[in-house]
Symmetry: C2
Subunit: 226 residues, 2 copies
């Protein structure tokens, strides 16, 4: 079990977030990667609704989670952490140049070409749902997400994963797609739903999710994300 | 001059985009990196308002620019291309592990923690400016951008660049910040404005910008971005 209070590798995570965010907070991505390679880690937990200490912003300049420290290198941003773990273990990122290039391209695609549209939609639908403009803006935002889901369906072509074997690109993409669970959109995108499910049934994912939820503790009432 | 019709390295770019996008289309990031290291490249140009050919989506699954091929590896996503170029030249990405980790963290930060909020604001202000909801949504979107600009100001602390020496992280961050030029927000963020200007006065940036604008040709009337 990679969660180990004596591990050298530290991942920052949250305690007491709104229930809605359970299974979505981004430390899940790093926990999942660590579980895939059986690498022990411990968490440093911060209260979600309390501003992060100033010292933490030297590690994570936006005060978000996760940040990462393995005793050799300190990192922030899930993409950078996933890339680093992939560079240390071929089960997460292949070495052959084109295979690696495909996986790194899809890693960035998940975070820069897919997630922004999904976060925008979730922001309007969930975090700004009480605003006068949000229900009017939502359909246009949803159309942009649909366009991406169409393109992802085409790109996946009957393959299991986006870049050959399972890789950090899939850890990023599956966790990004999970941010759409509340929308019901997957009913129209069966191939993407099946892809996401392939990720979610992996034992490493399930262990990471269970550990995140245990660390989060009692859910608090919905508010702005930390 | 890196632009060279006989170069092995190919970067996809656009022709005939709306004038508003000149100097913002993302191939600029890759051109800039190539200029910094004096590496020759040629462009493959696509008409902005015509759907990209199906064959192009095998190279760039979202039909966007830039895509990259240096004869050894084919890539898409500016982040992946910048990382690849950085791995081949220490002027773009240091080798020492922590210095590299800092630069890679900031590269992902520019693309996943800063750009999404800026693109969301620009989308509402510019591309959806005629919609009933966009002027109401814009202030909330602007507040999220301001929060990031505050955090970037704190993180930069009087340094010249975000991760030690100039790196691909700054190529990403400066070009992301340029997407805010229309807002007037930089008047409130003098340190970030000065940072952006330090990037924009680099000879490599200026050559890349001039070559992008020359390739774009005659601007067309404003519409949806390609």
């Amino acid at each position: 079990m990679p969660l180990d209070a004596k591990a050298d590798t530290v991942v920052s995570a949250l305690r007491n977030t709104p229930e809605f965010t359970h299974g979505l907070v981004r430390d899940l991505r790093v926990r999942w990667a660590l579980e895939e390679i059986g690498r022990p880690y411990r968490t440093e937990l911060f209260e979600s609704m309390t501003p992060r200490p100033a010292a933490y912003r030297q590690w994570q300049p936006f005060g978000q989670v996760p940040a990462f420290n393995d005793g050799r290198v300190r990192l922030f941003e899930t993409g950078a952490i996933l890339l680093h773990l992939g560079e240390e273990d071929e089960r997460l990122l292949p070495c052959e140049p084109q295979a690696r290039g495909d996986a790194v391209s899809w890693l960035f695609a998940a975070l820069n070409s897919v997630e922004p549209y999904i976060m925008q939609l979730m922001w309007a639908d969930v975090f700004k749902s009480g605003e006068s403009w949000s229900s009017e803006a939502s359909p246009a935002m949803r159309e942009m997400v649909r366009r991406r889901l169409d393109q992802l369906t085409e790109a996946l072509r009957g393959e299991e994963w986006f870049a050959g074997d399972f890789s950090v690109a899939d850890i990023a993409m599956v966790t990004v797609l999970r941010e759409l669970d509340y929308t019901g959109l997957f009913a129209d995108y069966p191939k993407i739903a099946a892809y996401k499910a392939r990720g979610e049934v992996r034992p490493a994912f399930r262990r990471a999710l269970a550990d995140q939820i245990a660390d989060l503790g009692e859910p608090i009432k919905l508010g702005e994300p930390a």
